[in-house]
């Protein structure tokens, strides 16, 4: 059974009289363990879609099921629970809480979910270690580089073992090197079974996924599977001989 399923998803924003049709009938299915990228130009509706998947907003029409929950039909408080337990979210702008330490930022969703503090702390230490942030526990977000902040955000998103990890331009504010680092981490978590949906306008970023869905003007227009990362010499040869 798909872990994410949307049917005919529409979203119309109304801002001072004008209607913006941000989604025009999106059908998305994501199987457990998939790493899917939704790629499309600015304004095509990627963030809108991700927000509907996370229950941060409600569709104007259509249905969203995440891990069997009908997100479109849940109350705000039930959606808040869903966001805590079922989805992890990574934003372009990191969105860490500036006056909490790294450890406290990561712990917060765990504690809010009602888990035992010792469990949360153990999990957090494991994640921070894994993400190369073991020595940053007592640091505040403002003292970290962008790449480090995004890795903290990743730890925070994963602390409750979410069924799906949603990432909105997670490398949009990062230089190439830290961006690649974050994408490699996503790939590693995917290889360990984490389901991931990433949205981006950048082909290189999307290329880390195993399936890419192309979006335009609020619709999906085509999709493809991507190869397992392998030997690049074939493609170098091919492109060089054309060039």
């Amino acid at each position: 059974m798909p872990i994410i399923e949307t049917h005919n998803l529409h979203k119309v924003y109304r801002s001072n009289g004008a209607a913006v049709h941000a989604l025009r009938g999106v059908d998305l299915q994501v199987e457990p363990g998939e790493f899917v990228a939704v790629m499309g130009p600015s304004g095509c509706g990627k963030s809108t879609l991700l927000h509907l998947l996370a229950g941060l907003d409600l569709p104007t029409e259509g249905e969203v099921f995440v891990d069997g929950h009908p997100v479109h039909a849940l109350s705000e408080s039930r959606r808040a629970v869903l966001r805590r337990r079922t989805v992890g979210f990574v934003f372009q702008a990191f969105n860490l809480i500036p006056n909490l330490t790294v450890a406290d930022n990561v712990d917060l969703p765990g504690l809010l979910a009602g888990r035992a503090p010792v469990d949360v702390a153990r999990e957090r230490d494991r994640l921070l270690e894994r993400l190369g942030l073991a020595d940053k526990k007592t640091t505040f977000p403002g003292q970290l580089s962008g790449g480090e902040q995004q890795r903290v955000a990743l730890a925070r998103a994963l602390i409750n073992h979410p069924t799906v990890l949603l990432a909105d331009e997670p490398t949009g504010n990062l230089d190439t090197r830290s961006g690649t680092e974050v994408l490699n981490l996503l790939r590693q978590f995917h290889q360990e079974g984490q389901t991931i949906v990433l949205v981006t306008h950048a082909p290189k970023v999307a290329s880390f996924a195993r399936r890419v869905v192309f979006m335009r003007d609020g619709r999906f227009v085509s999709e493809m599977a991507l190869p397992e990362p392998g030997d690049a010499s074939r493609i170098l040869a091919e492109l060089l001989s054309i060039a």
């Binding site: 372009q92 702008a93 493809m224």
Partner: protein, 200 residues
Amino acid sequence: MLTYALLGLLAERPRHGYDLKKAFEAMLGGTWQVNIGQIYSTLARLERDGLVVSHKQPQELLPDRKVYALTDQGRQALQTWLAQAQIPPARLKVDFFLKLLLARRSGLADGCALIWQQRQTLMQSIAELTPLLQRPRDDEHRLLAEGLLFHLEADLKWLERCEEAFCVGSKEQGQEARSDRVASSDPPPRPDRHLPTTNY
């Protein structure tokens, strides 16, 4: 091209033909195989033109082999070539564009489908190249991959324009404002506006 590659490799040190073949191939990550015959014919021409000289090197048990070295004249030719700016090649995908135009005129194929298919092909290449970005920043093959990636990204961007022009549909409300935005080349992604500061 091969001519100057051989001159360049000989500027490093004198080499024999097979050594040149191996060095050339290694330089491009094994992506270009050259025929040894082509190496020897190029060397012969260079020697005739006075850009390289050869001398016989005796080998135990094996026949003598020719070792080639750069002459002053060869060094000068290489220097001149290196100093020349490269004329930018027009890399627009003419064949593809022709298909697109003819699909529209003949009505025998869906231009929009061609665009999507082309995009998938480019994405496939990008996905195959990105592993090279893991290599150290001064790695020569990584640099090569980065160059190719920039081209592929530009091609993808252009396909977005083609898509606008060729793919009908979604011309409903809100389109006018949008097309301006897409047309202005690569707007940076806007930071999310309507988000809570935390995700829980």
